[in-house]
Symmetry: none
């Protein structure tokens, strides 16, 4: 078991799962729990057994399928219903039967919620807390209490809110987590209220939501005011604007405030864990996410790049390796030689200063025409190789192509494309159909080449972005197409620019096929 002096308590599987569009199967929940345990959190709240059959099953399967190294499982549930004994309440029994070593009980601490939502008396609510905590303690469980709406409750009736804290602690709850359930608090006021609650005998925890954009700061402020138990969710998942992002909280406390929360090597795996969890939840990763986002250590301005070469710490608040992330340089219209060299090194190429000067010139020239390489790493690598090695390696030569999109009198819309090309000495003609002209072109070119290069069967167009760039000084507008492709080694992006959207798409497609063959180790002609 982890050190008990400070708790890192994850509620992704319960409160995080309240996020719109997030639906986790039992197998998903088990997989997320393994990742969280790998990070070294102390507690994993698995769900509400009894209230939710899926969660009941989670706790059942967890007994045999989860082999936790650091974390303990917590079962979430409510205090007993009004007017009955905790020992007789089937929902309380389900918590006990989950066999989770920790039970986290949610209780009302806001007088108006007791009266309007729970429809009982303030005194009965206290009795429900006292009885349920004592009962579960007698059953050998460790009990935490989530004091729901605590801050709004404190503002409505401070004496009652504090009475809830005291009652739970006296009945044997180990932690009273103060919940900013509606997420409306700002750090200063929150810290004052936490400090008052910390003056009781109770051990205080904190549970924040991000409705004011302050969930992380509120959590830190609570810790400074005396809380020794922090709750949050992986990647900041949760209802509305989400819960406190537990990854950000951990990194801030451990790297900037000297807390020893998770093993150093686990922290260095946090970026991978954060991304692995997005694969399970199927929620698009937030590239802006502090510490672990794809862009968290990405630099665009050329101004900075030259100084970064001298000393990266001048432009980074931490060493990204501490959280398993990486510095990335974007090649953009502010490109300077330093960023091109850095980018090349990132990709494993050492450029001479002549080569990097030439590459900068070519990038600038192409960017002036509308190309962008910041989001098209594969096109940049092809350009870099051209600069080092002379001409572009060609796996095929295109003679011509044609796309037709037609709306027939029946209203049906059909797309087809024909590509004529030479490869390995052969002239090949292929026609593809698709749900649009680019899709049809993509199919046609792969169909043409698949017999000679079977690995192209695994190449897939996964995203397609189009942007019309305004013309400058009398030139026509041009269209920029960014294509993301995926093959056995992962995703990569290519770019094409032309007046004609189909021509721009073709360029990006042609680069995607070339890049896929290059990294499959194919020899060019």
């Amino acid at each position: 078991m982890a050190d008990d002096r400070f708790h890192v308590y994850d509620t992704t599987l319960r409160d995080g799962a309240q996020q719109e569009g997030l639906n986790l199967s039992v197998a998903d929940k088990l997989a997320v729990a393994r990742h969280l345990d790998g990070l070294g959190v102390g507690f994993i709240e698995g769900g509400w057994p009894g209230a939710n059959p899926k969660d009941t099953e989670f706790f059942r399967r967890a007994k045999t399928e989860l082999d936790l190294k650091h974390a303990q499982l917590a079962a979430f549930g409510a205090t007993r219903r009004a007017g009955m004994k905790a020992a007789d309440d089937p929902l309380v029994a389900a918590l006990r039967d989950s066999e989770a070593p920790v039970v986290t009980l949610v209780a009302k601490s806001h007088d108006r919620h007791v009266e309007l939502a729970l429809r009982t008396t303030l005194e009965e609510n206290l009795a429900m807390i006292r009885d349920t905590v004592s009962h579960l303690r007698a059953e050998g469980r460790r009990v935490f209490l989530d004091a729901e709406h605590f801050f709004d409750g404190y503002k409505s009736n401070p004496a009652y809110a504090l009475e809830v804290v005291r009652t739970a602690a006296e009945a044997g709850a180990d932690v009273i987590a103060l919940c900013d359930t509606n997420g409306g608090m700002l750090p200063d006021e929150l810290a004052e209220i936490v400090a008052v609650a910390a003056e009781t005998e109770a051990r205080i925890g904190i549970h924040c939501h991000d409705d004011t954009g302050c969930a992380v700061a509120n959590t830190l402020a609570a810790v400074q005011a005396g809380a020794t138990h922090v709750q949050g969710c992986a990647n900041g998942y949760g209802e509305r604007s989400g819960n406190a992002n537990l990854f950000t909280v951990i990194a801030n406390l451990q790297l900037k405030r000297g807390f020893d929360l998770v093993p150093r090597e686990a922290l260095a795996d946090m970026t991978r864990i954060a991304h692995a969890i997005t694969e399970i939840t199927n929620v698009t990763p937030n590239s802006h996410q502090p510490y672990v986002g794809l862009s968290a250590f990405t630099h665009k301005a050329g101004l900075h790049a030259s100084a970064i070469k001298i000393d990266p710490s001048l432009y980074q608040h931490i060493d990204p390796a501490e959280v398993g992330n990486d510095m990335r340089m974007l090649v953009s219209d502010m490109a300077g030689r330093a960023s091109v060299e850095l980018k090349g090194r990132e990709m494993g190429y050492e450029l001479t200063s002549d080569q990097s000067r030439e590459l900068v010139e070519r990038v600038k020239e192409l960017e002036a025409k509308g190309y962008t390489f910041e989001a098209a790493d594969a096109s940049f690598e092809l350009l870099l190789r051209d600069t080092i090695g002379g001409e572009r390696r060609r796996y095929f030569t295109v003679e011509s192509w044609r796309t037709i999109v037609e709306r027939r009198p029946t209203g049906e819309v059909v797309s087809e494309a024909t590509v004529k090309l030479y490869a390995k000495g052969e002239r090949i003609i292929a026609t593809g159909e698709g749900n649009g002209p680019v899709n049809a072109l993509d199919r046609a070119v792969r169909l043409a080449l698949e017999r000679l290069y079977p690995e192209l069967a695994g190449l897939e167009l996964v995203d397609f972005k189009v942007r019309i760039l305004e013309g400058t000084h009398g030139t026509d507008a041009v269209t920029r197409v960014l294509i993301t492709s995926s093959d056995a080694s992962g995703e990569f992006a290519t770019v094409g620019v032309a007046e004609n959207i189909i021509e721009a798409s073709w360029q990006a497609l042609e680069e995607a096929v070339t890049y896929a063959l290059l990294r499959a180790g194919r020899e060019a002609e």
Copy 2:
């Protein structure tokens, strides 16, 4: 001019544009500036004239094309180069020539950055600040100073960092904005350092990045410690993890701390403005965004539902209407009856309550399919007229169309389109050529109709935006096309959605032609 006691300073167009994947044309920048002005911010930083040709053009066009009601434009730039006079520095001249009433100078305030990145002496850096500020003040500009890396600088050499603040203020800078450039600060320490800087004579501003997930809280902490000028970006755009989200900062200060920053009715339009800006930037909106996100007031927990009916304030930290959001907003902020009625009235239509209920239903249904009416007023007006008048008024009926794009063996790329339609009882076939398939389609349809409707000769396609919308639950991705057209009465926008990009473009083109004929006063068939 807005009240000068507290500044809301937006840097979306400069620092926000550093975000990975965010590329704004000059027209985009002008459009974003109009939205920010509509929100009532005090200052809009437009870019770095002189360093970036696009930004030079922005300031040039802003003089005639921007009619700002609240905001003043600020030009961003650096202090003069070492070893020359400010009056002789062409980059300083470009700031003056931008004719922006405010110039914001970035200056180093971290001793190591002066020595390693700027490669000059600490004393020369102070001289550069003194000279550049004085020069621009003598030219009649209001000058703000961005003290770059101030907090890291203060920790490295507090005396020097404060000397930068004093020097700039003495030379005539109105505001010294302390920048947490690397974004690594936490609120407690940041507030202590702001309080020290606020003890100087200088007026203090704050500029935060979100690398610790605390940009908003840091901004609030700085205000509490004495800052009276806050910088941030729309939707939290910016490099790495983004800048402080200006919308969140404004809502927190105005709704929770009693500041009077923007007009109440503008705040109530903030959700719409936030979404409209995402349409321009073509960045996927963050549904979790505090206050203005699609999910910001969305409730999933069934537990809450009945209590919400009794008293919504029990489960919401603010009334979502204060920021123009909606508790049950599923599709867009437009999909409320009140806003539809308001929008209709704005266009000169009085809707009965049955009509507006029906229109809301149709908008919701179409938005669920991927349409957006926020940025497509002409399509909205056509939909509104359909709702009032029954069926769509038709000036022509399409039998079929076809586009061909071909790359010939010579390398030449040609596009043509053929449209077959009926108008005024005639069957008409016309073929157009263009620099792309949509351009060819546009020419073909106008060619077909011009003899019958000569005013279409003046209709021009001026902008074309494409967005691929992710599929949900087993459906394929769809393509949304927004077309901006211009005729004798000005610009208007239409929308089309389909799997096939050409089909989506056709829909938007067909609506554009219909709308142009409608407002030219033509009678439909």
